[in-house]
Subunit: 381 residues, 5 copies
């Protein structure tokens, strides 16, 4: 997906900086720009100038295991017809040649291959003749905010091909378990390996969720304490992330529900029990996203309420000051008038009283006292 | 994607002026004005004074292809019973005569023909005896905002009739692929061609979506930065567009779900796989619309919050100024009073002090200092 | 339905005047006031003092047609056993005698007859032994706002009885088509006639919808332009109308879905195709209501935002004026003090300067300049 | 359910007074306080100190009828094995002994009996061996606001046992109909009587709904007219009542749907038709509650908007006054300064002009004129 | 129900302080931190340093009962193959050894054991070969707010194993009933015991609900009375608790629905009737949570409205004071001007009038009178 490189002047650094967002608002299947072109087009999108794809291949059964890290296509090709369980993993953006070679070897459908290339697809499980095609997305930790990577899986009876578009290979731990003779993943078939990869992918969501949860709790403090513009910005971006995360996880749940329901022949009963566990995790993640969304909405309402609260405080101060001093200013204004006291006895006789000035102070103090009493009764302090 | 080039200082004129919106809030099946009239009425609606319909016909099989651009009804008629695959495309608003001729030749149902004529229908797939009738809508780039065009498709066993109500023929690329001997669309039947048209139509939505996405991101900046009336207007119009877009896409998804589920005999298994891909795209588009709607709602809330923020700032300035100067004004007012100092020693003796004036300034500075300390404690700076 | 005759002082004339609303918030099946009474009670509700019911009867087959406008019950009775298609239409509130006579002749269920009498029922389709009982509601144009009328239909194998509670007979156009020998409605059975009446009824909704749509667009202008109390009132009433309209249309959609699904034996396949079209229209109307509801909600938010905007403007004016003049007033207050300049050299020596007054003006102009610069920086202009 | 006797100082009398709310926010099945106790516990809850239960028994068939008002348990026992239709009605809170006796006689399940005793259950229909157990709730008019009563029904093949927890016997009209030889309720079996009780119960909701509807319309007036604190309180309490009413009606609808669907063997086809009518009424009531909820939400928004409107008005008055007089006060302040005119010709020469004072008035009038023109342009009047 | 005794002046400390919340916003299955590890991992999570697990075992049939409180694993082991009903309860966090031993003895699935260890799972019912695995959560009273505990149940044909992660054993009452020869729980099988534990767990929710209900009612008072910052904080925390509670209860309802539907062979018909009762309680609890959520939302709106109300009051006071005195201050300012009366007869002749000063007071009183009349007309008092 192309970066949108607009630079936002006001963004707090935690969300967008230098290179801009990693997670644009719109993510389309890559083809959308050329309506009318034939489906199954495998030309590599111009903008995907990431590192070249790296192959790794593991061929194993309960007894033996052969592992090729960073192998070439030619080396991999030898194992395509292996009778053992074979796992071919492609890390990064594959070339057209690689896709075609793998596609021809295992008879993969062109539409599926196109979906591998054009990442940003919705999660799904699709059944073709003798294969199961699966797409999952996972949020990846990125420099700023969240990026998404796509895992594409082709499951056959004895082989599994996986493509992962993200930066780093997330399956090191699975590989380790594979090397361990006697481990469950060695004993059971490729459908269990298939489960293991999916499980790893789903579990990648939780650290991201935890970060979001902590962000919400931090915002809760700052919103009550000091509802400033940065907090508003943070809440909006939080909602945005959650909208995107939900769009990512929702189809994932449906895909896993279909897998755990046992609709697919390639997945044997034992692996199905494990996939049910994955489904539980996916539902759990989605539950959390929904809860977070509600908390974020509540935060915005609290923000608005806090603002109103502060405005109320400001207004009260203004009103108290103005209400105290405006009448007093009027009074002193009265005795600043220049009526000609010599023109008649009723022209400002107060000015000539012996204790006029002290008496006036007493009057003004009384006015202030009445005001303060009124404010206290209204509980403005 | 042509941006909407209208210049909106306050925008109302673009609502109600001469040609007005291209996308009114209400879009009814054309018949609604005359309740009680017989169904299947093919009189051309008075307002549809667009350019006359243009026919184009392609008759092909894997080997040969005959193409008639801008052919007459009479020329087209010859191919109505062709044994090859025949695609008749009508661009623009068809005349009653044309509709009747095509309807009679292929036995199309009058209700379906009526729906072709009165555009603004909901997307749907309807099965008649030996045909499949399909309506899809697509947003079209227009002078101001969005217009919608309707694609009506009749699929038979060896023929496909398509009516497109929009301005320009969107199927040039499909035609190009048809001319290419050996292409998939040439090899497979009319159901694959049917898929290709639908696919082209669905993919037309994405550029519009991208434009909306960019509009949202632009609004995000302006709402935080400067929440003025124009931004409010833009948000409201954005929500409006999204409401309309959703109304357009929602039935589309259902129609495609029915197609990809394989409920219809005229669509063979291979084409069905491809239609499943279309369905995925439609769901994706709808997901995006939902996300955008949430972002737009969030924008409105942010707008309100930003307004409150600004009001708060304005109030603070007012309060600081008023709170600083109103007491000072009172003080100077006191010493502007004209009490008769000769009437007694208690009448404003301060005025006669040797350092009365400088002392007063010190008092006033002290008052200001206390105020500023209070404001700083309240964090109003 | 009984008018609620309260007179609302502040209502804009377009919604309520003289006789008050025609569409009260609560509409109950007429019986609710007497819980515990036997069902099937046909006593005419006291308040239904509308014009007496008018009968019209049409007996037809493809060849002949007999028509009795404004016939008596006795005249109608002769046709109750006619072998041709018979359509008995009752316009207005029927008497108990009439209901019983028709009910006995065709064997109508007492609960259904009760529903005919007590209008304000939810739309529904109910199957009895050999009949299909249908209730639809339609908004009727009324003096102020919207009124609802109820169409009750009993469909037998060769007869159709219709009761319409509204002011005017809406079926003139259908009658015209019936008179036209060779028209589809003459050729096909009573189920097609049944469809025609329903179709007419559904299409009655659209002019009302268009009026609402125009009202929304008018409100959009006024809300941005001048968010006054009348606009708020209008928006609230609009929401109210939409709530009521939705409550009217929602069950209608379900009823038509059941009809077009083909669950009922009395409706033959051909008429079913046409009813599917009705269903499409009903769904379309409901889609519109939902869109309007969202627009109305958005309008209210825009209204609030516009109010805040205006308040902001007012506050800015106040703040600018106050902030400019309060410090100046303080300054001139200072030089209005009466400190005794003869008491010492430090008592207000400025007053004795040769250019004291002009200098003071310069100082005040400088203060104003600084203020204006500050406001400009804050973009308050 | 125990009253919550807190006295709310600010409540408007229409909602809560003296004895407090009758409808607390939480209503639990009575057992909740003792988690871990055995189910089927029939100890009378301590707080249910209402009037003792009153029994009435009617034993009837189409020909004869025996009626015992206020009979003892012993008298009732004789009819427990009567071959005729037997209706035992218990009004008020039954004793443990009574429950056990009835339960043993008809073989009622302990869990069901427990539900009879601990009112506040959700409406439900449960099938036991040869009986149908039904719970319905109905809002009862109470001194203040709404109270709820519970109707529990056990239907056997020839007997019906009903428990009603409310204040007064709501079934007088049904009894009257029973006494009437030849009435439908006499001719048909206990399932029709069962329907009649349910119908009476459902219809009890509508007067309450009408009261709420009138309250909403009254609030609409007061909210536009005078958005004060009492109106806010009323709206909040209205929403509360609607939340509770919805919680009451929602399960009721589901229970009636199950009854009218014909899932239960004890209900014969004829009674089922009538129960379908009950279901319609229940759906209608729920529709109304939903509409009212939307109106109440809209009211709150209108309230907030009206408040903002008023604040706007207040602000405008303040701004107009302040903006008119603050500059004038500054001007007169200037000419109250005491610059020494004898120190130089530039010190306030205006004061010595022959027409200085009248000229100043002209200047001030001009200032006021400009201000007023500005306000009029801004449409602040 | 212990109220939550924390005293919250401004509350933030309770967020972040020492031990902090007992109920964090995010609760994950414990494994999430190590994506890629093998499933079925039983290593005790580092943070679960609670008290060691305590075992208790009851082996019973209708006649005899053997009870071991606080038995060792070795003692328990003897009963694993007992032909009677055996209930093994583990209170607290089990060790890996204990889990493995129990798991091996009864053949429990590793994934299920893992779920026992890593609490915070969603409620669920899962069927394995010959066992039924159930997880329920219950809110537990805690020092601050709410904590959740997890009950994990394994049901076999003659045995039941329960793990409860909470502080105290909640099943004392069940044990008491078990000891009581002839009680239902003794007579029926382990499935009835299984029901009893679930029932106890569900009923634990209601005291918590009651506390929340009381909190809402207290907030209703304080929000109308005095909408201060603490109330806002309380509302937000209330919403948070409700979001969490809903996330807890929602899956619980689904699990119980599945149990009461009778999908599971190990649960015999009699126990199923009782589980239906549990299901009713769970639905009831969820209904309450939904109602509370609505009330909480309404509270926030009322809070905002109350704030606006107060602001309105403050503004009115300010406006009345300012509007009364600003014009008066202007007037007295006029007569404080120093125009040289000797320069001409038009320079402030009022000052020389015999009754100038008293007349001025009359004018000012008249101004005040007009103002007060205006305010009264506007109903500002």
């Amino acid at each position: 997906m192309p970066d949108d490189t607009h630079n936002r002047p006001m963004d707090p650094p935690s969300f967008a900086a230098g290179t801009g967002h990693r997670h644009p608002l719109h993510q389309f299947p890559g083809r959308f720009t050329r309506p009318g072109t034939a489906p199954g087009d495998l030309t590599r999108p111009a903008e995907s100038t990431g590192r070249p794809a790296a192959l790794s291949l593991i061929d194993y059964d309960a007894g033996e295991i052969v592992e090729h890290q960073g192998c070439t296509l030619a080396e991999a090709r030898e194992f395509f017809t292996s009778p053992h369980s074979t796992w071919l993993h492609v890390q990064g953006t594959p070339t057209e040649e690689l896709l075609r070679a793998v596609g021809d070897a295992y008879g993969l459908h062109p539409l599926a291959l196109e979906d591998v290339l054009h990442t940003g697809q919705r999660a799904k499980v699709e059944e073709y003749e003798e294969q199961l095609f699966t797409i999952l997305g996972a949020p990846e930790p990125a420099d700023h905010g969240m990026a998404t990577a796509q895992l594409s899986l082709f499951l056959g009876d004895t082989w599994l091909v996986s493509f992962y578009s993200g930066q780093d290979d997330p399956f090191a731990a699975v590989r380790e378990r594979l090397r361990n003779t006697g481990s469950r993943v060695r004993r059971l078939g490729v459908d269990y390996l298939y489960y293991s990869l999916i499980d790893t992918m789903i579990d990648h969501v939780f650290p991201q969720m935890e970060a979001l949860g902590e962000q919400i709790e931090a915002l809760e403090l700052s919103v009550f304490d000091d509802p400033n513009r940065a907090a508003l910005d943070d809440i909006h971006h939080l909602k945005r992330e959650l909208v995107l995360l939900r769009r990512l996880l929702w189809p994932q749940r449906d895909a896993l529900a279909s897998l755990s329901r046992g609709d697919h022949v390639l997945i044997k009963k034992e692996a199905r029990l494990y996939l049910r566990d994955c489904y539980d995790h996916a539902v759990h993640a989605l539950d959390l996203v929904e809860s977070y969304r509600e908390m974020a909405s509540s935060l915005l309402e609290v923000y608005l309420s806090s603002l109103s609260n502060r405005m109320n405080d400001v207004m009260k101060v203004l009103t108290i000051i103005a209400t105290l001093f405006i009448p007093l200013s009027f009074i002193v204004g009265v005795y600043g008038m220049n009526f000609d006291r010599s023109a008649g006895p009723w022209n400002m006789p107060e000015l000539g009283l012996r204790y006029g000035y002290p008496l006036l102070w007493l009057v003004m103090l009384a006015v202030v006292g009445v005001m303060l009493f009124y404010f206290r009764k209204k509980r403005w302090f």
